[in-house]
């Protein structure tokens, strides 16, 4: 049976929020590892910084920023939906959160280049 009831922007936003949350949680240990290097192992950290200058790593970082921006704007959207007076045009708000996330990702990429 087709799942036609899921074919709308608010559902896509729900999936994006979930997936970005899981991926960010998976990234956290790596983040802490780098923090550990910065504090405890200066030479290894310098090596990491050099590695992080590679274009592919910059691109991967941009994806990370996109995930972070999508999760942040999506979370703010949900908080507003649940705790502020209702606003019609929820799909427009979903589009806005998507647009803002893309802009944030693009700005990061331009600065990284």
């Amino acid at each position: 049976m087709k799942a036609g009831h899921r074919d709308h922007p608010n559902y896509w936003a729900f999936v994006l929020h979930r997936v970005s949350g899981v991926l960010l949680a998976l990234f956290l240990p790596v983040h802490f590892q780098v923090l550990y290097l910065a504090i405890k192992k200066a030479s290894a950290f310098d090596g990491f910084l050099a590695w992080a200058e590679m274009p592919m790593v910059k691109l991967a970082e941009t994806v990370l920023i996109l995930l972070l921006a999508a999760h942040l704007t999506g979370g703010l959207r949900l908080l507003a939906l649940e705790f502020l007076p209702w606003r019609d045009g929820q799909k427009t708000i979903v589009a806005l959160t998507g647009g803002i996330s893309l802009v944030i990702g693009l700005v990061y990429l331009l600065n990284a280049a």
Partner: protein
């Protein structure tokens, strides 16, 4: 119109065991999906089970899954959903199938009762009519959700219902919200308690499939968001103890 006949796949079976059976149905002008199902039962296979009553979008008994989406079949024109001359008709999702296209609505309506969906007033027939201004905010909020016909389309569109069998669902919570805004009703505290639990309003993920599909263009997500705020406020005041 796309040809003289429609190819219709109809779910046949009871419970989880069944299969799709194909029928050829003559195409007619202004034909609804309910017309198609009725044609099959009256002219091809009288053993086909389905449910309907009013045929005009009032009673809420003919909802089915049409080409993957829950819809009220009596108000769904074939021309709108079967562009390629094919229809797939299945029972509503998230409800136990009795046979073919008929589902058991017991769970659905039991949840209305669990959400304290019954009006409880304090006045008797000897009291005067309650005066409720149509412009008051509470009356407006109640009016926004009150036209529900109980068809179960929102319930079938909701993934949270599919994931959590106890979840009260969009229709029952929408009903609770209309009563929370009914100034004549005196059961708000127990109602907010009833909808504040794990299976209540806070289980909603705001996916808004219910809003997307509601045949009456109601907004259960808005009602549920209202309940989320009301229960949060009640919890802060210690009224949910």
């Amino acid at each position: 119109m796309s040809g003289d006949t429609l190819t219709v796949s109809v779910w046949r079976g009871d419970g989880d065991v069944g299969r799709y059976q194909e029928f050829e149905v003559p195409r007619q002008e202004s034909q609804t999906v309910l017309d198609v199902v009725t044609y099959i039962q009256r002219h091809i296979d009288p053993t086909l089970s389905y449910r309907f009553a009013c045929r005009v979008g009032v009673c809420g008994s003919c909802a089915m899954t049409v080409n993957g989406k829950p819809r009220w079949t009596c108000r769904t024109h074939v021309s709108k959903v079967a562009g390629d001359g094919r229809l797939e008709v299945a029972p509503l999702r998230n409800l136990q199938v009795i046979k073919d296209l008929s589902v058991d609505m017991t769970d659905f309506f039991d949840k209305w009762a669990r959400a304290e969906g019954r009006f409880q007033g304090a006045q008797t027939r000897d009291d005067d009519f309650a005066q409720v201004s149509p412009d008051s905010p509470k009356r407006r909020r109640a009016s926004a959700g009150i036209e529900c016909i109980g068809c179960g389309v929102c319930y079938a569109s909701c993934d949270v219902v599919a994931w959590n069998q106890d979840y009260l669902g969009p229709a029952a919570l929408n009903r609770a919200w209309t009563l929370v805004n009914d100034v004549r009703d005196i059961a708000d505290k127990q109602r907010l308690k009833a909808v504040a639990g794990d299976a209540g309003c806070h289980a909603c993920h705001s996916q808004q499939g219910c809003v997307e599909r509601c045949v009456k263009h109601l907004n259960p997500t808005q009602s549920i968001a209202g309940l989320k705020r009301a229960t949060a406020l009640a919890a802060l005041k210690g009224e949910l103890e």
